[in-house]
Structures are given as structure tokens and as C-alpha cells.
Amino acid sequence: MSASLEKGINALKEQVDSTVAAFFSSCVHCGMCAQACLFFTETGDPSRTPINKTEPLRRIWKSEYTLLGRIGKILGLSKKVDEKLLTDWETLVYDSCTLCGRCSMVCPVGNDITLMIRKTREGMVAAGHAPEGLIGATKRAVTIGSPMGVTWKALSAQIRHVEEDTGLKIPVDVEGVEYLLLLSSMEIMNFPEFIEAVAKIFDQTNSSWTISSEAFEATNSGIQIGASDIAAELVQRIVDVAEKLKVKTVISPECGHAYMAIRWDGPNLIGRPFLFKVRHILEVLDDLRTQGRLKISGKEARKLTYHDPCQISRRGGVIDEPRRLIDMFSDNFVEMPDGGKMNWCCGAGGGVSANERADEIRLKVFQRKKDQIDAVRPDAILSACSNCRIHLEDGLEEYNMDIPLLSLTETIAEHLEGSEV
């Protein structure tokens, strides 16, 4: 992956389409996007205004794709994209943005600023301006198959544990089943009980499923760093296996960006529709609920709230499903202010938590989540993304708030009819 300024500029040019042009043409510099972005609201730093993060892309659009801009370029009057700009913009485009999507929801002229920042990353990475942590993660994803270096050997060890703990057999490389379950490295390393939960649920609902030893990784570092070619390669591995095993549905686990990558970006990255469906684990569970196959008993007495992982809720479309599932085991549920489509980001997605340089700001912007949580004072917080979970826990610990973070899938498994409570 040899990077250069020229490659970066070319990558940016390729990213300009009619949506980008319509968006830049419409921006009136009202600054409202800043008020939707927790990296601005919690720091007060105007350079973190979302539309400002797209400056490299804007300069290319202006000088290459507008009449006035092209004239300006000929006259040598246009603002250039150079090394200095890209260097200065690295901490804005990567450290100060999780691609959470709130800015896209509030822009009065309708700009999808998140999309524009995502596209800006394509230029940054081609020019060699992505954060080191992310570059490392991406390299590991490509060569080892997991951004955190998790191998099949490690996963099979975790699987053995799960089998011991549950007494259930975890199907591996089985053909013709309904579901192929993907897993994120975070889950495999930090929350292997997620695998247990899924196994128990599928056992109770008589669902046929499998994990693949060749393609088990859900996390897509290519998406986070903004390198579509790498993202495509990682998706292709899953597609090859899913089609080889002839599964009906590929399940994206409790990881935010993984869902966006495989569900919405996937076919566009590889250039053709999939021969299988893609669903988030919560969609699958909600489906099982609708079919009457998911049987729950016992209620959670604790006061619960739900943190919407940005890529799953606002950017992914899975907003109502978790709430219907929570209804099954809770009569004591409260929404955070702005809960649902407009929920605030935990601050760790989109590559931010893989970037050590962003540690300080990540903890700082957590204040926004803290304010939301303070407003409802829950006994526990449910979510459906391992990264959100661990980052929220970290943040709460920093502020001496003892509120457990629960995985929605794991909580459902704990309430399965017939399971010990």
C-alpha cells in the first residue's frame, strides 16, 4: 500500500459524485452541524465542525468540478490539497470523528456530512495520512484475517470453552444452514459469552447455523480507515465462504461498523449483489420473536436504558428491533433523552478507539454520554456493540459511576425459558 499525495488527490477526485457536488453546493456555513457533533459540543473547538472536516474533499470538488473553480485553478487561484493540509486534517478526520451520522441528520440543507467525511478518508489513507493504530489493524486484518490478530486457533479455543460451559455443540463449516454467524475480534477476545448466548438461543429456537473457520471476522478495518479496496477484500472473504456454504443469511454480530460494512457497503464494495441476506443479530432475534420461536421467561427488575450504537441504529436502520426485544423482558425501561435515531455516540467507533493518539479526546467527549445517562439514572445499560460497551464501561469507571453494561443478546439468552436464572 504505497501512499503518495498524488494518489490521495486522485482518490479524492474519484469520490466526487453528484451527491458530493450537491452537498458542497448547498452548504451555507450555518454551523449547525457542529452542534450535533459531540467532538465539538464537549470541546468547544470550532475546527471540529463536521463540514470543516471535509475541506480536502471540498477543495478537490471546487477546483475540478465547478466552472468557477476550474477557472480559478487555471489562474492559479484555487486552494490546493497539499501535505500540510492533510497532516493538519488527520486529527480532525480520524481522531475527532466516529462517522456517527448526527451531523447528517441536522444539516438544514440536507448534507450527508458523514458520507463526505467517509469519502475524505479515502484520500487521506491513499496519501498515507491515516493514524498508525488503524494502519496496523488493517494490515493485520488483511494478513491474519483479524484486525486484532485473532486466529482460528484462538477462536476454536474459545469455542471449546463455550461448548464446555453450555453442553452445546458449536457447528463449524456446516453447509446449507440458515445462518452463518460472524464474530468481531472484540467479542472473541473480551466477550466470548456472546458466542454462548447465540448458541443457547439458536438451540432453543431450533435454528440451523454455523461459524466458518475460513471467514469468521466481522470487523472491517478497511471501512474504518477509509480504504475501499481493502474493505472490499475483507468483504469478499465472507462472501466467498457464505456462497460456498450456501447459507441463507449472514449474521453480523454486536459490532457497529461491521454491520455497516457487510450489510450496506458490502455489495457496493465488491460490485455485485449478494446471493444471501445480511442481518444484524438483533434483526434475527426480532424475527424469531415475531415467529413466536423465541421464548422468554422472567423479567428484569432493574431500571434499564438502551444505548443505540450509531452504525446499527441511525446509520444501519435497526432502531425498533432492540426495543421490541427489550419489551420481552423488561417493564422498567426508560429512554435516554435523544434516544433512538438521534442518540449520541459513545465516542469510540469509526477507528477512534484503535487510535491511541485519540485517547484523551475520546475520554473527554464521553461527557455527552454521561449527561444522557445522568438524566435517566439507570441500574444498567443495554447495548448491542462490544466496542460501545467497553468504552462506556471505561468512561463510567473514569467518573466513578457503577452502572453495568449489558449485551442485549446475552441478556436475552439469560432469560430464555428453561435456562437457569
Partner: protein, 219 residues
């Protein structure tokens, strides 16, 4: 050139040139956008693009609660002057007659004293908008020459129109010529600035709604 000659020029050739540049400019800018095209979405759709896009064109006009709390002044001042521009331009009898002359269609006007009052409110809103732009931390950071230029180009017809109606300071022909020339200046520069948002926002909002709606989210 006498003031009558200036007025004649403004009403005649000036207007023609300005209109041609305006129309050509707007068409070119929109064409520039559309010809770039966008790739079809190959993922399995969860919602409809077209209906979501159309919905967002309308719904994006209304801010959500949290946004309104944080950007209240920007939003209110913004709506005031947009609304004011609409009323002072489209609902003022002499303007309607002028348009009727051009395209053959007219419509009822608001009573002139009402338009006059709205003009005052609009000018005050425009001043509030400028103050906001220069004092709000984020806006100050984003503001460039073009923002100030377009502000000036927008307020100039309002102020000169008000002065012309009230015969303030100069002779009637001079005031009217100035007003018409200020409009022509606006028309000529319009297509090369962010004022294009008045046309492109329909595209932008539609794209936003379509992209989001495809994934099953109302935006």
C-alpha cells in the same frame, strides 16, 4: 449618463444581461452536479429511496428538539429573513406586476403597508444574522469572503428597495436604478456562490433522505 439613462439601462439591457447570466449560470451549476451521477446501490433495500427522499425535502425544514435548543438563534433568524425575502419579493404588488409582464402570470398581493413592515423585520433579521455570524464561535471559524459578499448582495436589494419606496435621500429615478442594479448584481453573482443552495438544497435533501431511507431510517 443621466439618472434616467441609468434607469433605462438597468430596466432594459442590464436586466437582460443579468437574467441570461443568472439562468445560464444556474443551469450550468445544476448540470455540473447531475452529470457526475451516482452509482446504483446494490445492497438489499430496507426502505424506498424516492419516497424517503421526497419526505426529507419537507421534513428537514423542521429541526429536532436538541438542535433547536442549541442553534435557536441561527434557526429563528434564518427563517425570519427567508420568509421575509419571500414576502417582500413575491407578495409586493409592483414586483408581481413586473413578473406578470415577463411571464404572463400574476397573483394577489399583500397590502403594501404589510410588505413594508415585513421588509423592516427582514432587514433587522439580516442584521441579526450578520451579528450571529461574526460572534458565534463556529460561524466565525467557517465564515469566509463569500459568506460576507452573499450577505451584502442579499441585504442590498432589501435596503435599496425600502429606500426607493420611502424616497429616502435621493431622487426617485436614482433610488429605483440603484435598487434594480443591486438585484442585477445579485443575479449575476448568485450562480457562483452558496446562494445556489436555493436550488441545490432540493437535490441535497433528496439524496440525504434517499440514502437514509434505503437503510430504513427516516432522515
Amino acid at each position: 449618463m443621466t439618472e434616467i439613462e441609468l434607469l433605462s439601462w438597468a430596466r432594459g439591457p442590464g436586466l437582460q444581461i443579468a437574467t441570461i447570466i443568472f439562468v445560464a449560470g444556474v443551469v450550468i451549476r445544476i448540470f455540473e452536479i447531475l452529470m457526475l451521477g451516482r452509482k446504483a446501490n446494490l445492497a438489499e433495500a430496507k426502505g424506498s429511496e424516492m419516497s424517503s427522499g421526497l419526505k426529507t425535502i419537507v421534513s428537514r425544514t423542521v429541526p429536532d428538539r436538541d438542535t433547536f435548543q442549541r442553534s435557536g438563534l441561527t434557526i429563528v433568524a434564518g427563517y425570519f429573513f427567508h420568509f421575509g425575502l419571500f414576502v417582500t419579493f413575491f407578495l409586493y404588488a409592483p414586483h408581481i406586476l413586473f413578473i406578470k409582464d415577463l411571464i404572463g402570470i400574476g397573483w394577489p398581493a399583500l397590502p403594501t403597508p404589510v410588505v413594508d413592515a415585513v421588509a423592516v423585520v427582514t432587514i433587522i433579521s439580516m442584521l441579526a444574522v450578520l451579528v450571529n455570524r461574526l460572534t458565534n464561535k463556529v460561524m466565525r471559524y467557517l465564515t469566509n469572503f463569500e459568506d460576507l459578499l452573499t450577505w451584502f448582495l442579499t441585504i442590498a436589494p432589501l435596503v435599496t428597495g425600502y429606500m426607493a419606496f420611502h424616497r429616502m435621500g435621493f431622487t426617485a429615478p436614482t433610488l429605483l436604478a440603484t435598487h434594480i442594479l443591486s438585484v442585477e448584481l445579485l443575479l449575476v453573482i448568485f450562480p457562483f456562490t452558496k446562494l445556489m443552495h436555493s436550488f441545490t438544497l432540493f437535490l441535497a435533501r433528496w439524496y440525504n433522505g434517499a440514502i437514509s431511507g434505503y437503510r430504513g431510517v427516516a432522515s
